[in-house]
Assembly symmetry: C2
Homo-oligomer: 314 residues x 2
């Protein structure tokens, strides 16, 4: 059976960047990821990946994919179910289809969208309730929509929705938004947008599709808002469950704790991108962490197998 030098779990910006570097280091490399491109695929427009002034998230990720494929690195579009450590120090990676073996593992599994958890939300999911404004905004042309969330993703999504919908209500739990100033300003200056601060959504109502949402605080005299679309942009949870059985340390948010070299506490196991515990998470920082992880894994194997430190540059 093939033993890979590195198996990279996750095919977002961190995983694919790691693959590019690992392969260039001469490592036998495999990428396993069910969603090639990751959550960035859902990003309407990426304007802060240096080198691309403005590019749809999906297109940027296709550029990453082309880059990976130009190096003939295989990508398996499978779900990883478990990762276990073998007696000989290698790792077994089991997907729904197959079992793979590797000397090192990079966990770059990112995050998944968080749900609000209110009555009506699950029942009307896909019937007006959406977790991806980029994917669904265009379906709400000329309609009224609400979006819940106070972060930068919510601000971006609301700006996008305002290009299509008649009116956009932004429901923010706190008394301010934690968005990039540029995105927040665009939103505040848009006449089609109302921002409702210190307000929560307690229920999504509608027979066969979203008809209205119920608020904790009245807006213009009513605690119900008539909307046909309801977007949930309240964040994402890290997908770090695979790390647990390996003994990899995580913090209280479930993020994998990594050092400046993208190493976890377990030898041969690395993490990069949104699944890690960095404070500032962006496509560019995840990509860099992936490259650093590949270097660390290469350095680790060089020392282990050849007793030689890996060092590039000059």
């Amino acid at each position: 059976m093939d033993v890979y030098d590195i198996i990279i779990i996750g095919a977002g910006s961190a995983g694919m960047s790691a693959a590019i570097y690992a392969k260039r280091f001469g490592m036998k490399t495999l990428v396993i990821g069910k969603v090639v491109g990751g959550l960035l695929n859902d990003s309407h427009n990426v304007e802060n990946y240096p080198g691309f002034p403005s590019i749809p998230g999906f297109d940027l990720m296709m550029r990453f994919k082309e880059h990976v494929e130009s190096l003939s690195i295989p990508i398996k579009e499978e779900w990883v179910e478990t990762v276990t450590k073998n007696d000989d120090g290698t790792f077994s990676v089991k997907t729904e289809k197959e079992r793979y073996t590797a000397k090192t593992i990079l966990i770059a599994t990112g995050t998944k969208h968080r749900h609000l958890g209110v009555p009506g939300e699950e029942r009307l999911a896909g019937k007006g309730v959406s977790y991806c404004a980029t994917c669904d905004a265009a379906f709400f042309k000329g309609k009224d929509v609400a979006i819940v969330g106070g972060g930068d993703s919510a601000a971006q999504a609301a700006n996008l929705l305002a290009q299509h919908a008649s009116h956009v209500y932004v429901i923010v739990r706190k008394d301010h938004m934690r968005a990039e100033p540029l995105n927040r300003e665009r939103l505040e200056q848009n006449e089609k947008v109302d921002i409702l601060y210190e307000t929560k959504v307690v229920e999504v109502l509608g027979e066969n599709s979203v008809e209205k949402i119920k608020l904790t605080k009245p807006f213009k005299g009513s605690d119900e808002l008539a909307v046909q679309g309801f977007f949930v942009e309240i964040g994402a949870d890290v997908q770090s469950e695979l790390a647990k059985p390996l003994g990899v340390e995580r913090n209280e948010r479930g993020e994998i704790i990594i050092d400046a070299e993208s190493r976890t506490n377990v030898e041969g196991v690395y993490a990069a991108g949104d699944v890690g515990n960095r404070k500032f998470k962006q496509a560019i920082t995840g990509a860099a962490e992936g490259c650093i992880a590949a270097f660390s894994a290469y350095d680790y194997l060089q020392r282990k197998e050849h007793g030689r430190e890996a060092r590039f540059g000059y």
Copy 2:
């Protein structure tokens, strides 16, 4: 006088990435750098900046420049002579032309090419002696050249030179090259290339231009090699002199010591890219460090001026 929120010194991949983020955070931003693009301009082909499978270094840096300019961020092509801290906590940045004031400073001044320091080298610089294969390789079509250096830059430069020159001698001090495996393999498999290990160059000879170089160890019976071009690729020294009077800590290589948030030991002063003390230095990692530095500077000013932590994402 204008007070900038941040002055970024250096216009390479780290500095320009920082500028993109700083401006998007709403910061009043100025970039000062004599060489827009930095040393990456000299890179023949960049194949490891994720998203660009293969792009000349100069072209990649022009993409960065366009990105910066799309956000109307001013770039002053000036040399920074000194940075000093004022009594009110701001910083003064003095160039050969003007004096600027900022609340925070990012040092992203990178590196400069190292010289060998042997007789004949300075005298014949520009007359066959070169520090930039990318710039000068094409001038040596059909000629014999030597290149000194054992790192990845030397390997890349030698591969490039082999596309033009008749023959390429690579002079390596150690018994191996510390290059990316892919680059080293290309070199070893090239019939136009001889790699001379455990050999040093002690002199560059020639009347009006390079005629030969003198070695510490004979090759094919002679300690002199007849070449018309001599390329020095032995590394680069960090340009961190500006940091010293500010009390910024540096390591024994002169690299500025930064933490995971690109902060130095001095409040309001950040560093990113090749000038920093990261182990693994690449365009992608420098770009990420620049973005993180911009975030840290923004966070610092938010706390200082508004008593509020900056936090984005969800």
